[in-house]
Subunit: 412 residues, 2 copies
């Protein structure tokens, strides 16, 4: 097996739900050892997010979100409300290369697990804290989630039908931008540590991630006061650059440059489209509605396949508007090694691979998502706890029972 | 000045437009030296994206997008269609720690600037290639942009009004996810190189970035065939978890757990909301329309401020739906050190900071975005070209003229 870029790096992961687990899954794909700390009984609340009762029965008691974000991790349960569990957590953190958490500001301090507490024992530690609105300022202790920051950041205000009220981006774009922001910060800090021996504290938040997503809109507003609003599938940069109707679906057509627009017009219907008043980019931008109407009249009589064939042939950018199923099963994703297959609780599971590939240290799958607390005893032994100490921790409720897939009653 | 995590790292950046420049800006924020290669005459096409003629006159001839994504870089013009320019590019790449480009697959090969060509001279190089649909598979040579991949990935199909056709996310979420994917890959490769001396090739794409954004929807579909559709500001995970009308705007209210819902109901109108049929999460999910209608009837008679005050007091998650201007100017972003101010061509410019902060090696601003080719001669001298060689390159059109802000005719 090829080496991973993060082989030998240990991550103690207190994060729950979405952004943190997505971040640590990527570190695991890169070869890091991920120890996922969960609350006994319930565990990471994403284990049951959005899953119906029937689906939870079927798939080993976990949701699709959990399966999508938790490969390459081991799970240990710790009830951090109990002093003995906090002592275990501190011992783990003292021997970690990376600590990640997304508890609200102040919580890890109260539990004696702040960066200062960990650094005192482990000065090489990279400690990454992820919050809603950051660690300082008037909103530091306000709770939020992805959609709250889609609202707060203005993203909702520019997403939706023209003239409409604004909707959310259908996926958790702020969480996932936050996940890769955490990873970038952690990896930069590991690089710095490798060169200097110095650990450090990384801080990011849904607010920072959302502002990064909105950066060019903010800069534009700060320049001249421009406030953008929803434009359907279009944007303010170029025309045409949006969805058009076909007889059997929709396609995005992007023909922003003047030469590309001319090729587009001739490939579809020169008489209707190659008009002098549409010839220049700034004219098409001014006459957006007319251009869209004329182009739609032409495209709506053709199939998606015909439009794809005609416009690809003249190097005009075109893409089909896919459903989730069409997108997931499109062969190009598998062709670039973009899917990962594994088994979980007897079921075949497919998920999306790391967001990049590497020639020398490729991201890889080596461990299915863990059942809640499946590795509690194994991890405790690894950190020097003996059987009696483990039994004592279990008696006071500091750790939960050890449940593994093989011990479950088969559900079907 | 504090050290940067990437001090001493040199990035030769052939990327244009959005994802690549966003990626290399962050590397620059971390202290890397970024040499931006641009085409003489036009340069990075994002320099003029979406800017009106008036704005281009006012702001040193560049767009907000360019200003938002190109700090901490120097610009050199090279016409890579000319052999002498390609020789310069290869000399730069041979002395780079990182090379980044987003030309279509095959272009850098034709120019003698492929990974293999660079590695032969510079085996420690981390070479990052960013494309539309990846380097292999039937679609490898198909062009695309952010909105094309929002369509291809299914993101448009789950974004929009309930029952509607699907719209784009208002910002370039695929580009920006791709930017942080590039950064994560590059930083992981630099870490690996620091430990082993080995360089490598990193490959990512709009397709990989979009699939990462859609991962949990794909896993869900692969599990049981579920195909999600647009839900306005709501999602399928919890109820209530969406926008509600106030008398003077809209707020997001998230009260997903049963206890939080009860606190929400009592803080607003217990008689209308604390009903037994709404008490349980799965019931609220089944009766989504009724819950939304009942809650909307209550919220629409209150102001945003009143709702924020009442629900924050009982720790129910609430956020205001901001316009771009309200979001940009909200004091919390500045409070967490989330904005960066600089001057460009005599104008005060504000932009968004790196998407994370670091205690020992904080991201920082040290250079305003470059005028096109402003550092051509300076960079060439740094790489050993003398005045005569530079003049010869200019005579054959391999490099453009040196233009600096101070040499421009003031526009006002």
């Amino acid at each position: 097996m090829m080496a991973g870029a993060l082989d030998g790096i240990r991550v103690v992961d207190f994060s729950r739900v979405f952004a943190g687990p997505a971040a640590t899954q990527l570190l695991g794909d890169l070869g890091a050892e991920i120890i996922k700390i969960e609350e006994p009984g319930t565990g990471d609340s994403a284990r049951v997010f959005g899953a119906t009762e029937a689906a939870l029965q079927r798939f080993g008691g976990v949701s699709a979100s959990y399966l999508a974000l938790n490969r390459n991790k081991r799970s240990i349960t710790l009830d951090l409300h109990i002093e003995e569990a906090r002592a275990v957590a501190l011992r783990l953190a003292a021997q970690a290369d990376v600590v990640v958490h997304n508890f609200r500001p102040g919580v890890m301090q109260r539990w004696g697990l702040s960066y200062d507490a960990v650094r005192a024992l482990n000065p090489r530690c990279v400690y990454c804290e992820f919050s809603a609105y950051g660690q300082t300022g008037a909103m530091a202790r306000v709770g939020a989630n992805d959609v709250a920051l889609q609202a707060h950041s203005g993203l909702i205000s520019i997403t939706g039908e023209e003239g409409g009220e604004g909707v959310r981006s259908g996926t958790s774009v702020v969480d996932l931008q936050g996940a890769l922001a955490m990873d970038s910060g952690i990896l930069a800090a590991l690089f710095h540590r490798e060169r200097t021996g110095e650990g450090q504290y990384i801080e990011t938040s849904l607010l920072r991630a959302s502002a990064h997503l909105m950066g060019n809109f903010y800069t534009e507003y700060w320049l001249d006061g421009t406030i953008r609003e929803p434009m359907g599938t279009a944007n303010h940069l170029n025309v045409p650059n949006q969805a058009f109707p076909a007889s059997d679906g929709r396609v995005i057509i992007i023909a922003s440059g003047d030469k590309m627009w001319r090729r587009c017009a001739h490939a579809l219907d020169a008489a209707q489209l190659d008009r002098p008043e549409f010839a220049k980019l700034l004219d098409r931008r001014r006459r957006r509605a007319e251009v869209v109407e004329a182009l739609s009249a032409v495209t709506s009589s053709m199939t998606c396949a015909e439009l794809l064939q005609r416009l690809s042939a003249v190097e005009v950018t075109i893409a089909k508007v896919h459903s989730v199923g069409e997108a997931a099963d499109h062969p190009q994703l598998a062709a670039i090694n973009g899917v990962v297959d594994f088994r979980f609780d007897g079921h075949a599971i497919r998920s999306v691979a790391a967001p990049f590939d590497m020639s020398a240290t490729p991201p890889r799958m080596y461990r299915e998502p863990p059942m809640l607390g499946a590795h509690t005893d194994e991890v405790l032994r690894q950190f020097g706890y003996d059987c009696e100490q483990i039994a004592a921790l279990r008696r006071v409720g500091a750790i939960g029972p050890t449940a593994t897939a093989s011990e479950r009653t088969p559900s079907a």
